[in-house]
Amino acid sequence: MSVLALLATAMALYCFGAVGSLLLRRWERAATFVAGVSAALAGGLGVVGALQVLIDGTGPSFSAPGPFPFASFTIRVDPLAALLVLVISLVTVAATVFSLSYLRDYYGRGVGVMGFFLNLFIAAMIMVAIADNGFYFLLFWEMMTMTSYFLVIFNQDREAVDAGFLYFFVTQSFSMLLMVAFLLLFMRSGSLDFAAFRAEKLPTWLASIIFLLTFFGFGAKAGMVPLHIWLPRAHPASPSHASALMSGVMVKLGIYGIIRVAVDFLGASVAWWGWIVLAFGAMSAVLGVLYALAEHDIKRLLAYHTVENIGIILMGTGVGMVGIATGKPILASIGLLAALYHTLNHAVFKGLLFLGAGALTYATQTRNMAMMGGLARRMSWTASFFLVGALSIAAIPPLNGFVSEWLTYQAFFTASTGPDFTSRLFGPLAAVMLAITGALAVMCFVKAWGLMFGGAARSQAAAEAGEVPVTMLAGMGGLALLCIVFGLGAPVIAPILSRAVGALLRAGSVKVADGILIFPGDPHQAVLSTPLMAALMICLLAVPLLIAAIHRGHRVAPRIVPEAWACGYDHDAQMTVSAGGFVEPPGFMFRGLYWLRTIQGPAAEVLDGSVTVATHAAGIVEPVWDEMAVGGSTRSVRFLGRYLQAMEGGDLRVYCLYILAALGVLLIIEAR
């Protein structure tokens, strides 16, 4: 099957799943099954198609006139789009398989409708990635926002509705910027086709305006600081498999948009664009992880980590754009390669972590980490998968998060060795920001895993929790496996992505791998081999095992004492470190940066307040029209009616009088 046929079949399956789920909404089990299985199959087809394009290094395109004379329906699956399709499809497969059992929690609350919106949401995301026409891009972009809005407000409680409103408000208002930017491009090129945008040579000032418009327009969707305020509210509000798709995948389309416009259309021709992307990325990374640290709600914590990882991706993108602008092809390639690799990796581990959070809420009915504890013994598979995800996101070697952060560091290093003073200044500083981010992420996931899975149970629900059903484990396990594969398989994956970057830059791809080694363009700068590292880790495990085995300690089974030592007092679960206590030192040391958030809180409130004022004002303004257009006539009718009513007294004699009067009037008329 050709790539286009695969994608078309996938689209048909998504639509089938959506409609089928809606039609079967009275039979919730069947609706869940239809929606989940068709989306999982479609996801599988998407993976096959995307891999075909990525491995070939080139993809097909398709164009039809479409119903509108000003825009032809064009699709183009270039390697960048294929990577996004791959990301969407991989997480889709895992999340929908997971949903087959997970949705039992939602029976009786409209699962069929959820399946409808979820399938359309995924289809819209894929169409955004492959659309090659400005009009259709925006159309599908809006469709993606609409459908995900319904997923956010699905719980219908106050939190969800508020979050949905904020989400809708922020993304809608910023997608206006995209429309303006596309219109500007349209005015210059006379066509809405991306091919025309690409061919257009713009003056620098106009290109800069378009860059800024699209950077903030897409950045709001990506959730970069300071446009992220909707993200930590909206992502946790939706059901977990939808959160996995929103947090793991949807935000990536913001990144995709930035790369598509700034690099592909505008050619990243000005260096300060790259520095701006890098600066916002660094800010998002550090603040995102700091705020994540202070969260006790596992899904909010993960949502803030999305802000952080978007920051890391933006840092890679930014330094790559600087490379393009300053004419350093290796820096350009490595920066963008790091960004794309992290895009793929973040989707996988964040999808896994959100599914893990879903499994935990399924088992304990709470999202508060302080109410969990000790779950590793009762949910050992979930605990192991979550640990893999936590290690990946904390960039622990040799897993996938480490590989892409390594590449990001190498891109910064490449920047800091050139003759250009600005690069030499900001390259190492960016690396320092990334180091702070990495260390804070370690702390954050030590806290998250430790409080949820380690130690003693802190609530009745946690003490009675059991392992989740097998389809949920399959969804998580698949992604956990991918975390390992994308880590150890770096020497295979990096060249494929490097080729995608080469196609994007319309230049030859930079050689980044040789045998089991990967290197940032130049093997003298650094080499890394995750497969070798993993092999050595397994071999060296023999050393401590041997030391343990030749001593007597193992011959006696360990004595299990009921509780940890508490200086002679009775041990109590309340004594162990609390979520707040654990993060108190950084809270103290970085209080200045938390202060930023406390002033941002009011900013969100002001926004909320202004929205309330606006709706109130609309409530006042809207009836005015009513009053003027309809009000007059209704009032006169009512006025007449009141007099007519007075005439109908209900007295028989009066009615007789009316008849006589009428007869009299008729006689007079007739007599004339």
Binding site: L541, P544, A564, T576, M589
Partner: protein, 323 residues
């Protein structure tokens, strides 16, 4: 001269270097309790005590490894796995650093980013084991350990990035070779980076004012609270290994003098002696610093680490200025 090439026959240069790396890791592993013993003796001398003798840590380890374990019922898989993870991660770093040779024996892991993340791996599991044990002391210690990482990692990254950008490679072996050859463009920056990185290593080793290794329930050994028997033995050995590996990393990169340049038995043998001598000097110097310092309140630690961060920034500024 009899050399490795004739001994190993068909083995390639890479394989030989790999063997040197393995040998280096084993050397550091076996020497770790000796140097932690020396530290204890030196501290005793500063306290005007006789002290336990330099071989005491071997005896302690042997005793612990033969003891039965006592494990709290709440402790989980991470608690049990951590001693092994710690060993593995530190042995890999021990293989990768340019300690015996003037370049990294296993270059695919001798990159500064990889090494820093391997240290982060140890920190991750070490702290997590503390929380996983369900002990209240260990939980607080885990928080402190990870906080130290947040304060310390940026210093390590910036100081190493500074020297690496002057050497043109993030491979620590190449950096060491450049320093050894005197090919660094700015000596002042190299010296400053050395001070900053030395500071970071001092913190990473868990020395005063950041810790007192012999006292339990403190920063460094806090997560050990619930360990006992064989696991405690492995953990203590792992901590000692981490200290000696961190110090060898510093010595290998910033003081790469006197080591072996060629792959002959004699050169490697001399390099082993030189490395041990340098480690001894470094441990004595550290004992001086450590035992003349007071302990600080934990929340004030960020103010002290600003010194290190400042030194690293200064090194970076000097390298930018090129003086």
């Amino acid at each position: 001269m009899f050399n490795f090439q004739t001994w190993a026959g068909a083995m390639s240069q890479t394989d030989l270097l790999f063997c040197v790396g393995l040998g280096q890791a084993l050397l550091l592993l076996l020497a770790a309790p000796l140097f932690s013993g020396i530290s204890r003796v030196l501290r005793a001398k500063f306290h005007s005590r006789r002290g336990p003798g330099i071989w005491q840590d071997y005896r302690d380890l042997l005793k612990l490894l033969n003891r039965r374990e006592v494990i709290p019922a709440e402790a989980g898989i991470v608690f049990r796995a951590t001693p092994y993870v710690m060993f593995v991660a530190m042995l890999i770093v021990a293989m990768a650093i340019p300690a015996l040779m003037d370049h990294s024996p296993v270059p695919p892991m001798g990159d500064l980013v990889s090494i820093i993340f391997l240290f982060a791996m140890v920190r991750f599991f070490y702290s997590l084991s503390g929380i996983d044990s369900g002990s209240m002391f260990a939980g607080v210690a885990a928080s402190r350990e990870t906080t130290m990482g947040v304060l310390n990692e940026p210093i390590m990254v910036l100081s190493l990035f500074t020297v690496a950008s002057m050497a043109g490679s993030t491979d620590l072996g190449t950096v060491a070779a450049n320093i050894r050859a005197g090919a660094m463009p700015s000596y002042a920056a190299t010296l400053m980076a050395m001070l900053a990185f030395g500071f970071a290593i001092f913190v990473e080793m868990g020395k005063l004012p950041f810790d007192l290794v012999e006292a339990e329930q403190e920063l460094q050994e806090g997560p050990l609270t619930e360990y006992s028997g064989r696991s405690l033995g492995l953990m203590k050995w792992g901590v000692a290994l981490k200290q000696i590996v961190a110090l060898s990393l510093f010595i290998g990169v910033f003081l790469p003098f006197g080591g072996g340049g060629s792959l002959t038995w004699l050169a490697v043998g001399v390099a082993v002696l030189v490395l041990l001598a340098k480690l001894l000097v470094a441990f004595v110097a550290i004992a001086f610093v450590e035992n003349t310092m007071a302990r600080n309140q934990f929340l004030d630690v960020s103010r002290i680490t600003f010194i290190g961060a400042g030194a690293a920034m200064l090194a970076f500024a000097l390298s930018l200025a090129g003086v």
